[in-house]
Amino acid sequence: MSAQAHETTLGLDHRKLAMWVFLGSEFLFFGAFISTFLLYFRRTNGGPGVELFDIGFTSVSSFILLMSSLTMVLAHHAHSQRDLRRFRIWLLATAFLGTIFLGGQAYEFTVFAKEGLTLTSSAMSSAFFVLTGLHGAHVAIGIILLLSTWTLSRTGKIKADQDVKTEMVGLYWHFVDIVWVLIFTVVYLIPYDLVVFGG
């Protein structure tokens, strides 16, 4: 029996099945925080609000995260073709792009804090920082997974025929990307337009 085969009674790999159940539940997790932000984005307690958003800067961050999804899928594609050299290069590229995204988020948070938008300044700011902070934490966990996968591959613990392991990391990473697709539109673009341009 192949080391790869971990079927359930459904004939599917149980790790992949578990990952999809987990990702399905994550929609409920992030949905709660997105809804909270939508309820409170006008409640700024007299302080700054969504007008502080730098849409140009956040757009660049979004492009970077989208690009990291491409490098991730190329890493998995290379691994599935047993090309470990390219697999590791794309894996590192994904981790690098994720790190740039996190750096951008840290910069954005610092700018907001200087303008008076902090975690405790209003209901809007609390909802915003908790939501985007939790997304950032997911990205950070993803980077750790990517670097762990790279290390395990270098040390021979992940072999050329074990691309399901890369697929697991990839599913998680793409999920983090699609959550940002939702956040970028629903948390940044739409509220900014409604508040700044009056919708």
């Binding site: 004939g11 599917l12 099945l17 594609h77 793409h174 999920f175 939702l182 539109t185």
Partner: protein, 109 residues
């Protein structure tokens, strides 16, 4: 041939099916995602009137479907994974739409 060997071969065959898209197709999907994001940003800075919110939701949904379909391989995997994902998504949409409808007046008043 043992039952486990057959299961392993079935798994491998199913696994091969997951890798349908080529590198070129992945890059093309990324290019489409890039353009859609550009359209979203452009729509935020030009006055498109009342279609703004529906337009952005539509573009967002399109990006979502492209990522889960191609990058997460749902188009090429068993339908069960799609059902699991869309069950969670639908549950979240229904639950939080109800929450928004119930509490929006109280919060925004």
């Amino acid at each position: 041939m043992s039952q486990t060997d057959t299961a392993a071969q079935a798994s491998d065959a199913a696994h091969d099916d997951h890798h349908g898209p080529t590198t070129k197709q992945y890059v093309q999907i990324f290019a489409v995602l890039f353009v859609l994001t550009g359209l979203e940003v452009a729509a935020s800075f030009i006055d498109v009137g009342r279609v703004f919110v529906p337009l952005l939701i539509g573009l967002m949904a399109l990006k979502f479907v492209l990522v889960v379909g191609w990058f997460m391989h749902l188009r090429f995997d068993t339908k069960l994974y799609s059902r699991l994902m869309y069950t969670g998504l639908t549950g979240a949409l229904v639950l939080y739409t109800v929450v928004l409808l119930v509490f929006s007046d109280a919060v925004l008043a």
